[in-house]
Amino acid sequence: MNNPTNPRHALVYLAAMLVTVLTFPLIWLGGLVTTHDAGMAVPDWPGTFGYNLFLYPVSAWVYGPFDLFVEHGHRLLASVVGLFAIVLCVIAYRNESRGWLVKVCYLFLGAIIAQGVLGGVRVLLDARTIAMIHGCSGPLVFALGSFIAMASSKRWRLASPKTGSNGLGRVAVMLLALSIAQLFVGAHLRHSLPTWRPLFFMSLVHTHLLMATLILLAVLYVSVLVRNFANSANRELRTPANALLVIVTLQILLGFATWVANYATPWVELTPWLAKYTVQGKGFWESMIVTGHQATGSLLIVCSLWLACRSYRRVPVEQSAEQSVASLNNEPESTARKVFRPESVSVGVE
């Protein structure tokens, strides 16, 4: 059953990719909810102003206040993601031979449901602390969905666990841990409570900056490390490493822009433009920048996970991907190609 080109496995991969891709805009919308402090724009749950969630009038949603638009939209998209997570579980149950991966799919569905319940409890209790937990766990659910996509890919089946010393793997895991910790600190900054003392908030900001520096250094180290590998098989490690470099650069720029969008720059008298710059309260681009910083943070986690997976499961050096497919394929090629052409869809996250 563990055939890399089995079309039934490709189906699991496609479903996992679909649900993961849908989760990312859900994180964006969730970020917009926080940016616009729209968590309580709809005061009831699971309904919307007394309506069933799906029956709330579209005109009232689209033409209503922006915070209501964002919050109700977040709930609708979350329902769609939940629906696709159920579909993923059914597909995995029917087609996936690895029991542990099926259980991870169940775990993913459970996590999606838990996220929904958590969001609902946040509304019912009007508790910002729960909103913060909800905001922290969202990117982790996204990472879990991405992991399912990685584990169901053709490459994962071709690869085998790395044996011997694995310095890159350790750095990747450390980077993943740092990214998650950074997410937690960032979520605290985003959901700060009005009762917090300024010095506590300041220490959180300094921690966020320190961790950003550590993440940048780790990503630079990873970039250098993967470029030192000579053999062709290890070139595949460069893809997640390059993606990490791009994302961390973007994230640092977005982080600075987020501060400016929220609080202006600390060096106002440097140029006339900075001196004249006025923060726009709840401005469109300001909201996009701040939300983008948060959403890119979740991509950082996923890319760190991607690198860690590729570090710990590597395709044998002497065996190219095509050769591996040929050698491992026990099923009639014609049957597989007629239905799914898995080799054409197995590129993506993995």
Partner: protein
């Protein structure tokens, strides 16, 4: 069959669900938010007191004030004092953020302002220590950019203006972007009322603390103080100064002459503008001063704000590191109180309350001072520092002399291109 395969309750994901459920119901319920007692003011008035005495005295004052003004979630207004706020609007701005079943939005202050100004309006919101300048503490009843004389309260329109346009180069946003919302005008107006409410409440608390330190009866004094403070706000509109209509369509030679006269006034001993703003107006003066909010708990309490060992003990009462109120670089053209000539006129005539910027000495009878004409020349000189060539309008870039856009002005150049 599919359902049978779903892991039983003791599987991994059910543990995760259980952890989330625990997180939801243990200690995550919303905390009641209260106004923070003004311990810093107590500590600055009675430095020999122990921490416990400071805390008790501040709490006592806060409780007395609380009886009159309520809490952040349930504000109220004493019927005995002047009705200077609209309580319907105050209640819209108060409390937690959200909409009620009829879609009316509440908690505007926590949504837009609390991150910097704090629940109490004490300028001690979570982000306060990282901002320059620090967010305004409303409790002193002093506001910088207003149309009323020194020591007087701002008008409602002054507060609305700051909320709408923001303060360039600071963390104070312009909420004019809410314009796309039909609720915009109501939101800004409601917030301005809430700022008034917080300011009155905070000033009453400050004055009551002083009365208690002076061994006066708190219960008797609190209503008297509240009446006086509310009365001062009620007077604000009648004290508002209207700037004269200043020349914008200058004949170039006249403008050059006015700028020269204004420069002489700027550099004179009489106004001493250059001592702070520098001879070139670039903020390179010699003055080193702090704002009144800082002086309250440092210099007036016998603490040197330049000596860390002296001010550091006040941190436990909520003090943030004293920062010099540096003079503005006028050549940048970033005027926080507004960038038109009329705005500059008001800043020069009225000063900037709470900052080292004084109101100009005006010539009256035989007193030395600057005449009305001199003030207008000074305005033109300050204006020319960032609009040197033709006196183009800083907002539109339009050149009043030629009628076209001023290419030396950034905005004017943009307009010229778009035309």
């Amino acid at each position: 069959m599919f359902l049978k395969q779903i892991p039983p309750l003791n599987s991994l994901f059910s543990y995760v669900l259980a952890i989330w459920a625990l997180a939801c119901f243990s200690g995550c319920t919303p905390q009641e938010i209260n106004f923070r007692p003004n311990e810093l003011h107590v500590a600055s008035l009675s430095q020999d007191s122990t921490d416990q005495q400071v805390s008790e005295l501040a709490k006592k004052a806060s409780e007395h004030v609380g009886e009159l003004f309520g809490t952040p979630d349930l504000p109220k207004w004493p019927s005995e004092i002047a009705d200077v706020v609209d309580m319907v609007k105050v209640k819209r701005s108060a409390g937690p953020v959200g909409r009620d079943k009829s879609k009316v939005e509440y908690g505007l202050f926590r949504k837009h302002c609390v991150q910097c100004h704090g629940t109490t309006g004490d300028g001690q919101g979570p982000a306060a220590a990282l901002l320059a300048p620090y967010p305004r503490d409303f409790r002193r009843g002093s506001f910088k950019f207003k149309s009323t004389p020194m020591g007087k309260k701002p008008t409602h329109a002054d507060l609305v203006r700051t909320l709408e346009k923001g303060l360039p180069g600071t963390g104070m946003p312009a909420f004019g972007t809410l314009n796309h919302s039909v609720e915009f005008a109501e939101d800004i107006d409601a917030l301005a009322h809430y700022v008034r409410y917080l300011s009155v409440r905070g000033e009453v608390e400050r004055r009551l603390i002083s009365a208690i330190v002076n061994q006066e009866n708190a219960a008797e004094q609190v209503k008297i103080i509240a009446s006086k403070v509310a009365e001062s706000w009620a007077l604000a509109d009648s004290l508002s100064v209207k700037p004269p209509r200043l020349i914008t369509a200058w004949v170039p030679e006249d403008r050059t002459a006015a700028i020269e006269r204004g420069k002489a006034i700027f550099l004179s001993e009489l106004t001493a503008c250059s001592k702070c703003h520098g001879k070139l107006g670039d903020g390179d003066g010699t003055s080193q001063d702090y704002d009144e909010w800082t002086k309250d708990w440092t210099i007036r309490a016998g603490i040197d704000p330049n000596k860390k060992e002296e001010w550091k003990p006040m941190k436990r009462f909520g003090a943030i590191k004293p920062v010099l109120d540096s003079s503005r670089n006028l050549t940048l053209g970033a005027f926080r109180g507004g960038e038109t000539r009329e705005d500059l006129y008001l800043r020069i005539v009225l000063g900037i309350e709470g900052s080292p910027m004084p109101a100009i000495a005006r010539k009256e009878n035989d007193n030395p001072g600057v005449t009305e004409e001199g003030i207008r020349d000074l305005v033109e000189y300050v204006y020319s520092l960032s609009n040197p060539v033709t006196g183009a309008n800083p907002v539109t870039g339009a050149n009043p002399v030629t009628g076209g856009a001023d290419p030396t002005n950034e905005k004017g150049a943009e307009n010229e291109q778009s035309n």
